[in-house]
């Protein structure tokens, strides 16, 4: 009978919730107890350096384009050797939603996310992280990638000296 099965369903539900009353809560009392996030946890953003110690960020603006909340802004500039870098780079962590799209968009692996999630501040302006706050002395998750070695335009190495590059064409040569 339908009514019997309906009542059983209701009572089963009641019985399950009754059992749960006596279970051990899963709550972690955050400020006192802390759990260690996984290494790939997506929290505070950093800017990494390439294995040679140079800034990886080339200020290509892809992260700011990918950012759904527009919390990244920057100004690119050119160094004397033709290397493109960020004159200033700002992440407004009061807006950041830690979606990780910037890290995903970064073609040079400069933007990476760290497991440090405790970045609350009393003054909201302190959540404006500038390049000097973001830049770390390390490669982060990729130890051997240097964008400029593979870019093919010769900034860190002479033109045509990069991996898988032929030496520059001699324009005045007559041979085909």
């Amino acid at each position: 009978m339908k009514i019997v099965s309906d009542m059983t369903a209701l009572l089963t539900g009641m019985w399950i919730t009754w059992q749960h009353i006596f279970r051990r809560p899963v709550t972690i009392q955050y400020p006192e107890e802390k759990r260690t996030p996984y290494p790939r946890y997506r929290a505070r953003i950093v800017l990494t350096r390439d294995p040679d110690g140079g800034e990886r960020c080339v200020a290509c603006q892809l992260c700011s384009a990918a950012c759904p909340v527009d919390c990244i802004s920057m100004q690119s500039a050119e160094a004397a050797d033709g290397r493109r870098y960020a004159a200033w780079f700002r992440i407004n962590f009061s807006r950041c939603i830690f979606c990780g799209l910037c890290a995903e968009a970064c073609p040079t692996l400069a933007i990476q996310m760290t497991p440090d999630f405790e970045i609350c501040k009393r003054d909201i302006m302190e959540l404006l992280y500038e390049k000097e706050d973001l830049l770390i002395d390390g490669c982060g998750k990729s130890h051997d990638y240097n964008f400029y070695r593979h870019a093919g335009i010769g900034v860190t190495q002479p033109r045509g000296a990069g991996p898988k590059e032929k030496p520059p064409v001699d324009v005045r040569g007559l041979l085909p």
Binding site: G13, T17, H20, R23, P25, V26, T27
Partner: protein, 330 residues
């Protein structure tokens, strides 16, 4: 008419006692609800303010009192201010007729543990619960907000419908006790609780009072998934607090009435009468919390369908059967 000063003093004392106890109880019921819900959901619940979070109700009160008292643009000023009171006052007034213990002998007087032993006590309860509708209706309407208005329209229809089945489910009780006086009803259950004779009426009454105090699964007037907070969407601070407290006062009052009508009131084995009564009331309160932690919300048409097409006919049938039985038994 001349009144005995002692009578007046006793009366005032009883009123003060009832006020103090039920208001404290209501506050702690909120706390209990949060705790039990948390346990059901494998959480810990409030545990920051005081030992085990026991001062949480106080913290809530301070928060509510210090919040901005906000009135939306276009709201109907007086009705907006009146509505929370209209919601809380009838709930408190119901306690006037509930006998919460056996009569006491005190200073040579027999003291009824009941504020007013009216011989239309049951009717007074029905009247007051029908007046409680106005808090919901006026609050939602005066807020000048579509969510609030929808909530109050739902509330009106729901309370009106379930009041009917609630009233009808009490008719067999009256027939058995042959009185509207609650002390008589309690007295009539000295031998056997009415739940034994009237399990169906008890179930109908239980469902109806769940709907009357707008509890899950009947919380459509304030369905937060659809209507933000329903009829009290626009309320803040202590005015919201009044609605909130009114709801918990209602739970206690209706729990007390359910105990009175079907579970023998203050009658009970071993324990003193007042404790017996309290245990029953708290059991009802726990039941409501438990149900809230278990059941999902009904759809509105299901709610109306259930009220009008199932509960009301069932209650009518129950009356007929009871009447027949009483007539046959003589």
């Amino acid at each position: 008419m001349i009144y005995d000063p002692l009578d007046i003093a006793l009366m005032l004392a009883k009123i003060a006692l009832v006020f103090f106890v039920i208001l404290t109880l209501a506050a702690y019921l909120v706390f209990a609800e949060r705790k039990v819900l948390a346990w059901i959901q494998d959480r810990k619940g409030p545990n920051r303010v005081g030992p085990f979070g026991l001062l949480q109700p106080l913290a809530d009160l301070i928060k509510l009192l210090t919040k901005e008292d906000f009135r939306p643009i276009g709201a109907d000023k007086w009705l907006f201010y009146l509505a929370p009171a209209m919601a809380a006052i009838p709930a408190i007034m119901i306690f006037a007729v509930i006998p919460f213990g056996a009569p006491l002998r005190l200073f040579g007087h027999t003291v009824q543990l009941q504020v007013a032993d009216l011989h239309v006590g049951l009717l007074l309860f029905v009247a007051l619960s029908s007046l409680a509708v106005y808090g919901v209706a006026l609050g939602g309407w005066a807020s000048n907000s579509k969510y609030a208005l929808l909530g109050s329209i739902r509330g009106l229809a729901q309370l009106l419908s379930y009041e009917l089945s609630m009233g009808l489910s009490l008719v067999p009780v009256v027939m058995l006790a042959r009185s509207f006086r609650l002390s008589d009803i309690v007295a009539a259950q000295a031998g056997c609780w009415f739940i034994v004779y009237q399990p169906l009426a008890f179930m109908i009454f239980l469902i109806s009072i769940a709907a009357e105090c707008k509890r899950i699964p009947f919380d459509l007037p304030e369905a937060e998934g659809e209507l933000v907070a329903g009829f009290h969407t626009e309320y803040s601070g202590m005015r919201f607090g009044l609605f909130f407290v009114g709801e918990y006062l209602n739970i206690i009052a209706l729990g007390g009435l359910a105990a009175t009508f079907f579970l023998g009131g203050w009658h009970g084995p071993l324990l003193p009468p007042v404790v017996c009564f309290s245990v029953k009331v708290l059991a009802f309160a726990f039941l409501f919390i438990w149900i809230r932690g278990t059941l999902p919300r009904l759809r509105y048409d299901q709610l109306m369908h259930f009220g009008w097409k199932i509960l009301t006919p069932l209650a009518l049938l129950n009356i007929l059967v009871t009447a027949w039985w009483l007539v046959l038994r003589g």
